[in-house]
Assembly symmetry: C2
Homo-oligomer: 250 residues x 2
């Protein structure tokens, strides 16, 4: 038995998310179909680094699976890409230690969120950015972004529907915000993220940008432990699971 | 009765082309629905600069319609954009002379075609470029592109299925080819284009780029008047109707 780790990218537009669900098109469902074909009809279970919601994209999602088949890295990649649909692509595959787990061994995740800060709708970017027409104070957003870095209890900034039991403390290594023309990029890196956490942090930073919230109020929001106090959950199409880093990569 | 000219952009991915057809989603069908709503249920016919195929995009398609309603430019634009789906957008509207016709008065059309010259599939660009993995000689393609400029009978470089009766002579003012990283841009400007003409010219230029065809053979192809002699019709998703220019704009 060998264990294979895969890094994939997908355009989330036409997927009902990462996790398999009956009667809808999911990333996991498509990968299962391809692996089953390679394994001559035998089902192969995959384990991903975590879920992504419907409409959310990935540049570097990861998963692993076990197999008795002996293929080289290049052969696994080619076999999978031949069978996968055009909005889902295997960037890389490699054999890993049998103790490896794509979810439990993830040391760091990076998400990015893209905003198009323009009034005129861009029909070509509708599924790939969040088009936000209001004027934004980038300096204030950058100042507020930094306040999310470090170890915090993120209860205020995660969905109340989150199934997480146990600690809601997560450590963010980077929360930054860049402006290039009318495009605004948010980069968030951390040891883990709660449900909807990236989208709620970005929504809160947009409130800061519009002057609805002051950076000095962020600390207080953390103390409230109440999702209602934070900004809106921004829509999925601006969000990209950018990279998952493992201990052995650090 | 006033006549309104509109400039629109659309992401062609989820449209079965510009022209209305029963039981499929078309650009014209969506515009008709919006105009009918604005006119309280009364149908309003539109006349476009020309058709585009399924999957083909537009940055500057044009159409006109007649109306008894008195709205300002900004009001027409807002009314339409409020009703239109997110992959179809009105960039501009204005009142024109009652003799204006979006198709017959078009003096010049510009099309662009985009190729991503990379081996690794980019899932985010699959609907917006033609991904072409083979090595290309850009210098030779640029040399061949210039040979399409001027007045020619384009029978060889248009679909045999074209319904055009009459002359197949068209004048191209510009046929150029630029490389920026792994992105290749083709710009074609002319007084008119036959069915599939842009896609067949680009397909022929790719044959030149791969060394299957020599620039010196292009003149001979024109003389053959036979579609079979030209290159493949490249797929629709790389094609953009970029701009339609009218006499009064020149």
């Amino acid at each position: 038995m060998t264990k294979i780790k895969c890094v994939i990218s997908y355009d989330g537009t036409n997927f009902s998310g990462m996790q398999i669900q009956p009667r809808t098109r999911t990333v996991e469902g498509e990968i299962n179909k391809a692996l089953r074909k390679i394994h001559k009809g035998e089902p192969v279970r995959i384990f991903s680094s975590g879920r992504t919601d419907a409409g959310v994209h990935a540049k570097g999602q990861t998963f692993h699976f076990e197999t008795d088949y002996k293929l080289t890295r290049a052969e696994w990649k080619r076999a999978l890409n031949t069978l996968l649909p055009s909005d889902l692509h295997v960037n890389d595959t490699r054999e890993v230690n049998t103790s490896f787990h794509a979810r439990f061994d993830a040391a760091e995740k990076e998400y990015r969120y893209y905003i198009l800060n323009e009034q005129e709708r861009d029909v070509f970017q509708q599924n790939y950015v969040y088009q936000y027409p209001y004027e934004l104070n980038i300096k204030k957003m950058q100042q507020a972004a930094g306040l999310f870095e470090g170890a915090h209890d993120f209860t205020t900034f995660s969905s109340a529907k989150a199934e997480t039991t146990g600690s809601k403390v997560r450590t963010l290594y980077e929360v930054s915000c860049y402006q290039g023309g009318s495009r605004i990029e948010f980069i968030l890196r951390g040891d883990g993220f709660l449900y909807n956490m990236v989208r709620i942090i970005v929504g809160t930073l947009l409130d800061v940008g519009r002057g609805k919230l002051n950076p000095s109020e962020i600390a207080e929001l953390f103390n409230k432990h109440d999702r209602q106090c934070a900004g809106d959950t921004v829509p999925p199409q601006g969000l990209y699971l950018w990279e998952v880093t493992y201990k052995e990569d650090l």
